[in-house]
């Protein structure tokens, strides 16, 4: 049964994606390290780090896609899970600084010395060990999502209400992490990292390794997501997305299905955050901004939700656009992002991947001799829960649920 699930998970698309990511994990750092600068094919170190960052974003978008695209939960709290994972990693990196900080205190990070703290708070204990930090990276976002989701889904908080309370959670965490006496560096967050696993963070080899780790982690996430959505559970998730009450009446425990997706997704977001921090070199409360969480949604929407490859494309494309615009035309970026939100929701409800699918469907329709393919396409669409009539028929507003 397990082998079957594995085989199913690695359908053609996912297999390709995993293969590409693994290839990238090897090729990009190699192109940076093996090929000397100036020669064709050399990848500068900043590009490696930049794309490493994009891949963590892609992982985050994929995590959101698992709950939003497949389970219909629009979480505005994924930025928080991402940041929590990031903080766990940041705490490990802070402890690795040791006595190389400005105040040269072997135990306390600089900001604690600055705040006149005498000893390490209990929740910083253990973060000098990588295994413990790694455990926390998974546990903290996972537990938060589990507890939050357990209560929220059990009392059937759905739709917009869930979005708003996840946003409230993010906002509460933002305020909390801004406080100096929380012991997480307050406004400035955690930065000035020196070593990770004994290697200097700034070194080209470390950066290459981090990129490879990110790509592999993303490949793993793709694998996990693909396995989930192709399983029977995945079908139930899609059923929950499309008709929650009906699924419940059929006898499924909707809340547990949702809780599973939400928790797995939060863990994935946390791991993405943990990989993000050593690459950008800082984590601060700004990562908790509710606006960030909404931005993740647009990456997913642009790429195409309800698909595995969509969010990855979306996150990379939008963030490349962001890097370009904020550098070249800073005033224009918010217009572009805003317009992207409006445009995608109005004209591209299925994102880039959906658009490609439509084109393919159109070109297929021109080939008259393949009726089977069209049928497959229709049932495929139905499987994704998209009622073909919703886009054609006149949409009607619904009062608040």
């Amino acid at each position: 049964m397990i082998t079957q699930a594995l085989l199913r998970a690695l359908d053609k698309k996912a297999l390709w994606l995993v293969a590409i990511l693994v290839a990238l994990a090897i090729a990009v750092p190699a192109a940076n390290l093996m090929i000397p600068p100036g020669q064709p094919g050399h990848v500068p170190i900043y590009v490696v780090t930049l794309f490493g960052k994009y891949l963590t974003y892609a992982m985050l978008a994929l995590a959101l896609d698992l709950v939003w695209g497949y389970c219909g939960i629009l979480s505005l709290g994924h930025g928080a899970f991402f940041a929590l994972g990031g903080y766990a990693m940041g705490m490990y990196l802070m402890r690795q600084i040791g006595d190389r900080g400005v105040y040269a205190n072997p135990v306390l990070p600089d900001f604690m010395v600055f705040l006149n703290w005498k000893e390490l708070p209990w929740y910083w204990m253990g973060f000098d060990q990588f295994w413990f930090a790694a455990l926390m990276i998974v546990l903290v976002p996972g537990l938060l999502a589990f507890v939050f989701g357990f209560f929220a889904f059990r009392s059937r908080v759905t739709g917009v209400y869930l979005s708003i309370i996840t946003q409230a959670m993010t906002f509460a965490l933002l305020l909390a992490f801004f406080r100096n006496d929380m012991g997480f560096g307050g406004n400035n967050g955690l930065t000035d990292f020196k070593d990770i696993l004994g290697q200097p963070v700034q070194a080209a080899t470390t950066r290459g390794a981090l990129f490879a780790a990110t790509a592999v982690a993303l490949a793993l996430s793709v694998f996990v997501c693909s396995m989930i959505v192709n399983s029977k559970l995945g079908k139930v998730m899609i059923a929950v997305r499309d008709a929650e009450s009906r699924t419940r009446f059929l006898g499924y425990r909707v809340e547990y299905v949702k809780l599973f997706a939400f928790t797995v997704s939060a863990v994935m977001a946390g791991v993405a955050g943990a990989l993000y921090v050593p690459q950008v070199g800082i984590i601060n409360p700004g990562e908790f901004e509710p606006a960030n969480s909404i931005e993740i949604v647009i990456w997913t929407a642009v790429g195409g939700r309800g698909t595995i490859v969509g969010p990855i494309i979306g996150a990379v494309v939008v963030n490349m656009g962001k890097s370009y615009f904020t550098g070249a035309l800073p005033e224009f970026w918010l217009y572009a992002l805003g317009a992207l939100f409006v445009f995608v929701t109005l004209f591209l409800p299925k994102g880039i991947v959906g658009l490609l699918g439509q084109w393919r469907a159109v070109s297929r329709r021109h080939e008259p001799a393949r009726p089977a393919a069209g049928e497959a396409q229709a049932s495929d669409a139905e499987e994704r829960g998209e009622d073909p009539t919703t886009l054609i028929g006149d949409p009607q507003p619904k009062p608040a649920e």
């Binding site: 739709g159 917009v160 708003i164 801004f178 606006a291 005033e331 805003g338």
Partner: protein, 536 residues
Amino acid sequence: MRPIRSLRLLFALVGLSLTLLAGVARAQDVPGLIEAMGEANLRELGGIVEELAATGDSTVAPALEALADGDLYVDEADGRVVIVTRNRMYDPVTQTEIGPAGDADLSRIRINNSLRRDVAAALGSLTLMSDDPTVRLSAARSMRANPTEENLILLDEALAAETNPSVRGAMETARAVTILALDDTSLEEKRAAVPVVARNAGREAITILNAALGSAPEELATDIRSAIAGLEQERAIWAALQNVWFGVSLGSVLLLAAIGLAITFGVMGVINMAHGEMVMLGAYTTFVVQDVIRRNAPELFDYSLAIALPLAFLITALVGIAIERGIIRWLYGRALETLLATWGLSLILQQTVRSIFGPTNRQVGNPSWMSGSFEFYGLSLTWNRFWIVIFAIAVFTALLVVLNRTALGLQMRAVTQNRRMASAMGIRTPFVDAMTFGLGSGIAGLAGVALSQIDNVSPNLGQGYIIDSFMVVVFGGVGNLWGTLVGALTLGVANKFLEPYAGAVLGKILILVLIILFIQRRPRGLFALKGRAVES
């Protein structure tokens, strides 16, 4: 010690009787007496002070005060006596400025401690007996500060003659304070003084009583303690009331920001993330109106808000209708997607405003009737907060009237309850949607005008309110304006009551956590729609 005190007492009495005698009989030439101070030695000076006190004329008070403070000088050039403060010379009688003190050859008129006390006594009697009730009042109040036996005698004298009730009250208080502070007053007197102090001494009462507690015998001490306990309880009640007011004030701001959102959310199920930007547009409308008024007709400044209100309503309502017709109507039935599209819109609106007006805060002034504060019993209220509370109530009532008494309101309620049925009955639901969205946005614009009076007008203004507004709507529940009212006030008051214990930030975090927990109990808010509309 004792003989000296009795001597001084005698002296004061003499001064007093002289004062009483004074008036018409020994009306002296005040400027002449003051001029004489210039050459007088200490003893002569004592005589002059007596005589000045004897005139009963309150115009000599400044000169005496200056003498006691060492600000009275003689100009050696012409022998003139002047008051010098902050390096400028003033006439001791008329208080008019003579000129800078820099060049003049001045020497201070020296006095010793006993003379200084005489001057204080003379001043007290002068002012306590003044014809002007306000002078008497301030004299009685100032006597609380340095309780001496002379003051006690003076106060007794003055009380005997006093008829003005408020001045009498002040004198009685000063007398009670003095009795409590002196050592050789009797226990009965002191016990009688305690309630007087507790009742009348206002904010200082607890300090005064605590000071008296130190040396009090047991009998008196219990009296004082119970008086202090009573005062502290009273103070706690007022502090709580003040907190309630702060809470109501915050709640009314939340109400203004959230009520438009509640309408659009309730009627159309649309999460309008650009709602905060409507508030911002309203605030910028106020800024533009004030700017135009400042340039063209500054005398109209006090009416700027009255002009800005309808304009802000119109502008934001039109923007809202444009948004509804242009974007939102294509997304009905997909609430989560409207959330994204309106978020995108909010980014565009923010950036537009930032491009036009710049990223920094814009100065929006308070009209004169909205600045300053006033006291209401023990509460201190600022006018702008006060008017915003009134305004929020007015907007709320107006909205109730619109929803319950107009055709549009009827249609809106019908559409909220059952869209398809309403449509079947011939209500043009798209028109109602557009109007609802316009109304909701227009109210956000009105909120913007109000918020421009208490908050920074910057492109990020709306962002700060959007999450709070959502909390209010989610907490209060949709489909009922009263839910929004209760939600806003509850959150406001709860926030202000948590603040002293937890601090502003932690208080807010607690509120957010409480709302998240509350939603678990009631997933549709306080005032949820019941029946079929719940699950559609």
